[in-house]
């Protein structure tokens, strides 16, 4: 008998005080441009942290450094107690950091199901031969992984799209599939780069709901880059503000909104934009 719908068990919801990610004084230069200049931050297990800042503040660069896409010029990153500075992205993913991209990076010709299955890749153990024959371990593994992927499909309400190629999907749905693929990795830390960029109000509300549910139901620690202030202030435990590669403020959503440095940074960019126009 199906026992109702039990919440999927990825990891126990931990809201302990332990530090999951410690970034110390990392910097990254591109030629003469200082993208990230000596940023430090700490993320604790189970937290939902947002990084905000004007365009070009270094938000995506910071995410790229954490996920191993960029090698930092200086500073160190410690994840779950072990240094990961300068490791290859695949290694970092295997350690439990998953991400989504600002510009959707899905395999357009593949179905929603296959794209998400791909996220299970790091957990697959079967060899080439047994996979080819679909026998023994390979078969058991496939069934187990598929069950896990079905949980995600249900969680993100993608049931009606399982067999559809992602290239034909609406933008908001592709973003959701990308989130599902990142979650398929069963990450300890989830990095989301503008998951709501380019969405309409309704899609944004749905997405915010999903992100919040992932964090609350499964205890997945999340770092979110987002431009929509209403969403950020609504769902974050803590907000970190970057401007021109530096951290200029950090605190609860309310504290950050009142911070004079933050107000200046945002008004400043607005004035510059007006001048440029």
């Amino acid at each position: 008998m199906p026992a109702g719908r039990t919440p999927p068990a990825i990891s126990e919801p931990k809201r302990g005080p332990e530090e999951l990610l410690v970034v110390s004084e990392v910097s990254k230069h591109f030629g003469g441009v200082r993208a990230v200049a000596g940023v430090s931050l700490t993320v604790r297990s189970g937290e939902m942290v947002s990084i905000i800042g004007p365009n070009g503040a270094g938000k995506t660069s910071l995410l790229n450094i954490i996920s191993g896409f960029y090698r930092p010029d200086g500073g160190s990153i410690v994840f779950a107690g072990r240094p990961i500075t300068g490791l290859r992205p695949s290694r970092i993913a295997a350690l439990g950091i998953a991400r989504t991209f600002q510009n959707i990076a899905l395999f357009g010709g593949m179905t929603v199901l296959d794209n998400i299955m791909l996220g299970r890749h790091v957990h697959m153990r079967a060899g080439v031969l047994s996979s080819f024959l679909y026998w023994g371990l390979a078969q058991r593994e496939e069934v187990a992984h598929r069950a896990r992927v079905e949980e995600l499909i249900e969680f993100l309400e993608l049931e009606d799209l399982r067999k559809q190629p992602t290239s034909g999907l609406a933008y908001g749905l592709r973003k959701r599939v990308e989130l599902a693929r990142a979650l398929a990795l069963e990450p300890k830390l989830l990095l989301l780069d503008e998951p709501m960029g380019g969405m309409n109000q309704e899609e944004k509300e749905d997405m915010a709901r999903f992100i919040l549910d992932v964090n609350r139901e499964w205890g997945t620690t999340t770092i979110l880059i987002e431009h929509d202030m209403a969403v950020v202030m609504d769902i974050s435990d803590r907000v970190i503000v970057l401007d021109r590669g530096r951290k200029i403020a950090e605190g609860s959503p309310v504290e950050v909104q009142r911070d004079p440095a933050v107000i200046a940074a945002y008004l400043g960019t607005a004035r510059e934009r007006e001048e440029a126009a």
């Binding site: 008998m1 199906p2 109702g4 719908r5 919440p7 069950a147 079905e150 949980e151 499909i153 249900e154 969680f155 309400e157 049931e159 009606d160 399982r162 709901r209 549910d213 609350r216 139901e217």
Partner: protein, 644 residues
């Protein structure tokens, strides 16, 4: 029917007689999962015990809100087991409607599907003084709620098992106390006028209608049905709850509302019912797909479709098709009819029904021609959902069949259809005045439908009695008849016809965004929104030609002479249609009085500002200038192909 049957007693019987056979299935995480009759009964008993532990007593009312889920059906049966009454409500109701029904029915327990529904109920808490317990099925997102009213389905069932250990035989004893005349279901009619009314139906009422249906159609335990229509609709209650218990077939719940079409195909149900709206949508989908196919396939499809429709017409006249036609039909079965039926999930259908509102004859004939045993049924919530049905071999688009066994029929002097049977309801809840209006002293129910009985004994429904009017020159005018003709056009989603006390017939038309959008794209006609699309002169011409074609099938007096394209779709949130998608004609006429005046004035354009309601209950204004088009009684225009 044997004596003293109630729904819970039937469930006990089924748990013994069919023990290991599937009672209900649900598609979850991509797999169909079955509950046997024994498990179903256990689930109902545990939940009933849990309700009893929480103080649910005889005569209390339990409401369910959500998509069709096995546990929501369980909850209704659990309430009935304790001598209570089930009050299913529409899951897409906006807050104000919901508060009215739940408060009016004095519901003490609500079983909600998920967080969305729980949030909705909690927002109304202050207006529901009778509410004591709010149960949810899916716990997602509800972890951190601190709300004393709230409990999960599993918690209540666990509580029930404890209570059951302390009180052995409790539910069984309560079921034994139940009587057929107990109130089983309080079904709120979506009401084309005024606030919803609570129709009181007893076990005996419901089982009478279900038994007559089962007898007429030979429904068997091996049958399969997909439960996808709103649980609050009497049609779903009658089939998925009552007939299901009476016959013991297998009910199936789709994965999600969006997957119904796919689930239907996987399942291949043997029996099902769909309102005209769904048949119309299916037909439109088939036509769009056919238009997208390669020219060869399109020709093959068109040829065999015309052939089948010709054969269907011959059959209706009582003639037999010749040998060439029979050969053609055999080929068609292999190449077209069967594959299309399979696509639609109708490959194993023994019968399918359309009911709730009349279905356009062309749409009806289309599906019959494809080999779907589609039949019309007619009923009313007040008649436990079903009163008449077409026997096999006598299906036709014009009648709704003879009255079911056990019922009596008469036509009043004013032409109103009246019915008397054991299925006639007990009255409207807390509304004796409305009850007196609807029921005569000797137990006849006034259906409010105008109709007559034809020479074969089939009932023919003309329209709602109060809607049937006269044109200014005295010609009778039945708006629904004209609207159904119009809606056969794949480009027209909804139509409202006017003409009572007017010199001619005029219509407000809502275009079908899907097909018209498709049509516009094929012509490289750029548009941004529904509003923009509906304002295109090309689209207006397209619809004008469609109406001109439709006029040819109408008597000259009933020709639609002027029309206007509405800049939005008719929406239940704006109260323009009911939750079962019937046009609320009077409301529309009042809301769009400016449009109606303009249709009968000489103007070519009209300024319209209309209130719209968003899904979350917020409202806004939509202002636009709409163009009014005149349809000349000209020669027949060439058929506008969907493709080109």
């Amino acid at each position: 029917m044997s004596e003293a049957l109630t729904l819970p007693r039937l469930l006990c019987r089924n748990a013994r007689a069919f023990a290991g056979r599937p009672a209900i299935r649900e598609k979850n995480r991509g797999i169909w999962r079955s509950w046997s009759w024994a498990q179903y009964w256990q689930e109902v008993r545990d939940f009933a015990l849990g309700l009893a532990a929480c103080g649910f007593r005889r005569g209390d009312k339990l409401s369910v809100i959500g998509d069709n889920r096995p546990r929501l059906y369980c909850a209704q049966l659990a309430a009935q087991s304790l001598g209570g009454c089930a009050v299913p409500v529409y899951q897409d109701s906006i807050a104000a409607e919901l508060a009215y029904v739940l408060d009016h029915a004095e519901v003490s327990v609500i079983v909600a599907e998920d967080q969305e529904q729980v949030d909705k109920i909690l927002s109304l808490k202050g207006r529901l003084p009778h509410l004591r317990l709010l149960v949810y099925d899916d716990p997602r997102g509800l972890r951190d709620y601190e709300e004393p009213l709230l409990a999960s389905f599993d918690q209540i069932s666990a509580k029930g098992r404890e209570f059951g250990a302390a009180h052995p035989g409790y539910v069984e004893a309560e079921i034994a106390k139940g009587a057929p005349q107990d109130l089983a279901l309080l079904s709120y009619t979506s009401g084309t006028t005024g606030p919803p009314k609570g129709v009181m139906l007893s076990h005996a009422n419901l089982l009478c209608a279900a038994a007559a249906f089962a007898k007429a159609e030979d429904v068997r335990p091996g049958d399969n049905m997909l439960c996808y229509l709103p649980m609050a609709w009497i049609g779903d209650s009658l089939l998925s709850l009552v007939l299901h218990q009476l016959v013991g077939f297998t009910a199936n719940c789709p994965e999600r509302p969006d997957t119904v079409q796919r689930d239907l195909r996987e399942l291949g149900p043997t029996i099902g019912i769909a309102p005209p709206r769904i048949w119309e949508n299916m037909l439109t989908a088939i036509r769009v797909r056919a238009a997208d196919a390669s020219p060869l396939k399109r020709r093959v499809f068109d040829f065999f479709q015309r052939l089948a429709e010709a054969a269907e017409l011959l059959k209706a006249e009582g003639k037999k098709p010749g040998p060439a036609m029979r050969l053609g039909l055999c080929l068609g079965e292999v190449f077209v009819y069967r594959p299309v039926r399979d696509r639609l999930g109708l490959a194993r259908a023994r019968w399918f029904y359309t009911g709730g509102a009349p279905l356009g004859p062309e749409t009806f004939r289309f599906f019959r021609a494809l080999g779907v045993n589609l039949k019309q049924v007619w009923g009313a919530t007040e008649l436990s959902g079903l009163a008449s049905l077409q026997p096999d071999g006598e299906a036709n688009p014009d009648t709704v069949g003879p009255l079911l066994a056990g019922g009596e029929l008469r036509i009043s002097a004013e032409g109103e259809v009246q019915v008397r049977s054991a299925a006639v309801f007990q009255g409207y809840y807390k509304d004796p005045e409305a009850t007196r209006e609807a029921l005569t002293a000797d137990g006849w129910y006034r259906t409010g439908d105008a109709g007559y009985v034809d020479e074969r004994g089939h009932l023919v429904i003309i329209d709602r009695a109060k809607d049937v009017g006269q044109l200014a020159d005295g010609t009778p005018f039945a708006p629904q008849f004209i609207e159904n003709k119009l809606k056969f056009s794949p480009f027209i989603a909804e139509a409202v016809a006017f003409g009572h006390q007017r010199p001619f017939v005029a219509a407000i038309i809502a275009i079908d965004a899907g097909t018209v959008g498709n049509w516009a794209e094929r012509r490289n006609l750029a548009y941004t929104s529904f509003q923009d699309l509906s304002a295109k002169p090309e689209v207006r011409r397209l619809i004008r030609d469609e109406i001109a074609r439709c006029n040819r099938t109408l008597p000259p007096a009933a020709h639609v002479r002027r029309f206007v394209l509405l800049n939005k779709e008719f929406d239940a949130d704006d109260s323009e249609v009911t939750r079962t998608r019937k046009i609320r004609r009077r409301f529309v006429a009042e809301k769009y009085a400016a449009l109606v005046d303009a249709l009968y004035g000489g103007a070519d354009t009209v300024a319209l500002s209309a209130a719209i309601t968003y899904e979350d209950g917020r409202t806004g204004m939509l202002t636009a200038t709409l163009a009014i088009e005149t349809v000349e009684a000209a020669a027949e225009p060439a058929r506008e192909p969907i493709y080109a």
